[in-house]
């Protein structure tokens, strides 16, 4: 920390860091507190987008106002996190649905209950090989 920090940088970065820490804490508290996995998925997304986003913006502002340099690494990190967070949440939800349909009794179904079977001969995601005509199933084309 430099001694000649502008007061505005101090104020803005302090507010952003406190906001980010608070959102990270709230997200993890939701992960502990909420009753089923589909609801628990909801908590950490706040920690990812708002919490880490605020901290990364605070870091950009800090390095610009206090050190006088523009850093772009934070923007790279935030863009990467914003792109990947929905993908990993989708994968975790698919694992949850898959294990519910396999009859894993340890998992709570959540407010929506156990998912019904998909229409026709389709399937959500199983250990089986892809069905005939599934997009991406190049061997069956």
């Amino acid at each position: 920390m430099t001694a000649a920090t502008p007061a505005s940088a101090d104020l803005i970065v302090s507010a952003l860091v406190v906001l980010g820490g608070a959102f990270a804490l709230i997200g993890s508290w939701g992960l502990v507190r909420l009753p089923s996995l589909m609801e628990r998925l909801h908590g950490p997304t706040k920690a990812t987008t708002l919490g880490l986003g605020a901290m990364l913006v605070g870091s950009v502002v800090w390095f610009q106002l206090a050190e006088g340099v523009w850093t772009t690494h934070e923007l790279l990190v935030s863009v990467f996190l914003f792109v990947t967070a929905p993908i990993s949440a989708n994968m975790i939800a698919k694992v949850h649905l898959h294990r519910l349909r396999q009859g894993e009794v340890s998992e709570g179904a959540g407010p929506a209950g156990t998912p019904g079977p998909p229409p026709g001969s389709a399937d959500w995601a199983t250990h089986e090989a892809p069905h005939e005509g599934t997009p991406g199933d190049f061997a069956g084309d």
Partner: protein
Amino acid sequence: MIAYALAFGFAALGVALALNLWRLFKGPGVADRILALDTMVINVIGIIVLTGIASGSGTSFEAALLLAMVGFVGTVSYAKFLLRGDIIE
């Protein structure tokens, strides 16, 4: 003031990591444990970013970027293994 804000941020992220660890041990399902690990990676990235602000050096952001990538690949491979029984088909 930034020193107090950073202290609050570190404390909040530490408590958040402890809560994630509790969820990691408690479960009850495998998906909960994957979600807890994913959230732990997010919180550790936050700690690295705050360390970068506290130390005033920009060298820690490569570590944050690497951790973001490795955490995402790890989560997706756990999920793919549970869904398909294989990671790369």
